[in-house]
C-alpha cells in the first residue's frame, strides 16, 4: 500500500447524498479478477451516454457532458467532495479501487457507509468526515473558484483551505499509523500469530462445535 502523508490536490464536487457503490462501479465490471484498471469505469452510468461493458476501451465512448467529473475544470482532481452516506450499498472493494485508479486519494464527506470507509484504508485512500457546515462551505467555494485546491495534512489531522482556514478531522490512531507508513495489515496481524494460535486452541477445547471438519 502507498503511504499517505500530505496531499495538495484539486477538488471535484459530487453534490449528492447516498452515492452507492453500484453507482461508483457498476456490477458488470466486478467480473474482473484483477485489482486494477477500474478507473475508466468509475461512475460509468453517470459518466457515459452508453452502457459500458467489461474489457471495453472507454476512450471513444460518448461522455455525459452534464456529469460533473467530465467537466474540464475538474480533470486531474485528487480530492472528492461529497455529501452524506457516501459508499453505501455493497461491500465491493472495487469501489475504492475504481476511485483510486481514477485519481482520488482523499474523499471528504459528511458521513460514509461503514464497509466502504473501512475498505478505503486498506488501499491508501483517506476518507475524511467533516461537519455538514464545513462541507457546505467547501461546495460554495469550489463553485466560485476554478482550480480550487485543498491541502490534506494527515500528521496534523487537518484539511486546509486556500484561505488558510484549517478544518480538523478525527482518525483512529492505528489507522493513521498504517496510512503514514503504508503498512500491510496482514504483516502486522501476523506479528500476533502465537496469540492467535493460543486463542484458537483454547477455543477448540471450549467450543468444539465451531471446528467441524
Amino acid at each position: 500500500m502507498e503511504k499517505f502523508v500530505r496531499l495538495d490536490g484539486l477538488v471535484a464536487p459530487l453534490d449528492r447524498n447516498n452515492v452507492d457503490t453500484d453507482a461508483i462501479i457498476p456490477k458488470q465490471f466486478l467480473k474482473s479478477i484483477k485489482r486494477s484498471g477500474f478507473g475508466p469505469n468509475a461512475f460509468d452510468e453517470w459518466r457515459y451516454m452508453d452502457v459500458g461493458q467489461p474489457g471495453q476501451d472507454c476512450t471513444g465512448r460518448p461522455k455525459n457532458p452534464n456529469f460533473v467529473l467530465n467537466q474540464p475544470r475538474y480533470q486531474g482532481a485528487e480530492i472528492l467532495l461529497t455529501r452524506a452516506n457516501f459508499g453505501c450499498g455493497s461491500s465491493r472493494e472495487h469501489a475504492p479501487w475504481a476511485l483510486l485508479d481514477f485519481g482520488f486519494k482523499a474523499i471528504l464527506a459528511e458521513s460514509f457507509a461503514d464497509i466502504f470507509f473501512n475498505n478505503c484504508f486498506k488501499n491508501g485512500v483517506l476518507p475524511i468526515v467533516l461537519p455538514a457546515g464545513e462541507i457546505e462551505a467547501l461546495f460554495r467555494q469550489i463553485e466560485t473558484t476554478p482550480g480550487y485546491k485543498l491541502v490534506v495534512d494527515l500528521p496534523a489531522q487537518a484539511v486546509v483551505r486556500p484561505d488558510g482556514h484549517g478544518i480538523p478531522f478525527v482518525i483512529d490512531a492505528f489507522r493513521k499509523e498504517c496510512l503514514l507508513n503504508g503498512w500491510d495489515d496482514i504483516g502486522l496481524t501476523l506479528r500476533h500469530a502465537d496469540k492467535i494460535k493460543a486463542f484458537e486452541e483454547k477455543r477448540r477445547v471450549e467450543q468444539p462445535w465451531l471446528f467441524a471438519q
Binding site: 479478477i33 457507509a113 461503514d114 496481524t189 500476533h192 492467535i196
Partner: protein, 468 residues
Amino acid sequence: MAQTLYDKLWENHVVHQEPDGTALLYIDRHLVHEVTSPQAFEGLKMAGRKPWRISSIVATADHNTPTDHWDEGIKDPVSRQQVETLDANIKSVGALAYFPFRDPRQGIVHVVGPENGATLPGMTVVCGDSHTSTHGAFACLAHGIGTSEVEHVLATQCLLQKKSKTMLIAVDGKLGKGVTAKDVALAIIGVIGTAGGTGYAIEFAGSAIRGLSMEGRMTLCNMAIEGGARMGFVAVDDTTINYLKGRPFSPTGEIWDKAVAYWRTLHSDAGAHFDRTITLRAEDIRPQVTWGTSPEMVVAIDGLVPDPAKESDPVRREGIERALQYMGLSPNTPMQKIAIDKVFIGSCTNSRIEDLRQAAVVLKGRHIAANVKLALAVPGSGLVKRQAEAEGLDKIFIAAGFEWREPGCSMCLAMNADRLEPGERCASTSNRNFEGRQGSGGRTHLLSPAMAAAAAVAGRFADVREVL
C-alpha cells in the same frame, strides 16, 4: 454488569487489543463466493502465504451463475472465468465445503450457509458481501468485508475491528395479515433512514421479532445493511435451536447439548445499555413498497409517491426529484396505480422456502397480468428448490405464468443474464433499488414475496391484504 448480546459476542472473539481500542477478532466462519475472492487468493499466493484454517471456509458460486439452461454452462466468458477461478482456488486451497456451479446444494451464499448448519450461534461470520448481516439471525456477529479483508481472514483467521455502538430496535405486538419480515425491515429503514444504522450494531428484539421464523429473521437481518448497520442480530431462542437441529454441519450428541447450553446465553441481559433504542408497534406496520432509488424511499402500499415540494431540505428535495425522474414517477401518484413490467422473487433477502410459500399462497389459482412481460421465481439454493418442488410450489408458480429457475443471485444485481432493460419497472423481493442495480436504466421497487405476487397478478402494485 448487564451485557448486550453484542458485548458477549465481541468479548468471546477478542484475540488482542491495540491501545486505541482496535481489536483483533477471531473469525469462525468465512463464506466465500466468486466475485470478491479472486484478488484475495491471488494476494495470498503472491505473498507466499497459506490460509490459516481451511475448515472455516464454506464456498459457493452464486453471483454470476445463470438461472436457466444449466446444461449449456456459463455462456458469458468473463463470468465463466470468474467462476472457474473460484473452482481453481478452492481446489488448490481447500474448504470445509464447496458448492460449485450445478452442485445440488449450490445457491446464494447466505442461503447455503444457514441451511447446512454452517452458520451457528455465537460465531463470527464474514464474507466479501454486505448481506452477510443475514447470519445475525442466529445471534452471530456477522458482517460484510472487502477483498483486502477476505485476504486478511484467509491469512490470519482474524480481522482488525473497532467496537460499534449498539442500537436496540424493538418491535412489539402482532404483525397483521399479509405483513412479513420484509415489511418490518422496510418500515424500520423508513424510520431510521439508510444511514441511520451507520456505526451501529443493531439487535432486533420484541415479541413480533420473536414470533418470526428463522427465515423471517434472516430477511430482517439481511436488510440491516440497507439501514446502514453492518450487522443486525436476534437473540437465540427455541426457534433458533429447533432450526439448527439435524443440519449437516450442526453438532450432534454431547457436543450438541454443550453447544445448546452455551447458545442459550446469547441474549442481552436485562437492563443492558444500548446507545440508541427505537420502538415500533407491529400493528402499525403495513405492507411496504419503495418508490425511489434508495431503500429509505419507502411508503405503505396505501400511500402516495411523495411530493418534493413538501421537502424543506434542499439536498433532500433534489434527491427526491432526481429519484422521481429516474423512476419515471409523478408526485402524489397512488402506489397502487403504478403498473409494472417484470417481477423478481428471489435474492438472499427473500428466496427461502417460507418466501416461496408466501408468494405461492397468493398465486394459487391466479395468473400474472397481461402487461407483466416476465415473472421470475429464483429459489435461493438447490435445497430450497427441491423442497419447494416436493411441496408442489413450482407447479403453482408455473401455472401462474412464472418462470421457475435454477438458484443464484440472479436479477438482484443482474451480474448474470437476468436483468431489466432501460425503463422497465420491476416488483422485486431483493434488497437494493439503486439506479441501475437490476440493469442499466431499470426501475426497482422493493417489496415482500407476497406483495410481489400480488403485483404480478394485478399488473400494478396491489395490497396483498385484499387478496389473502
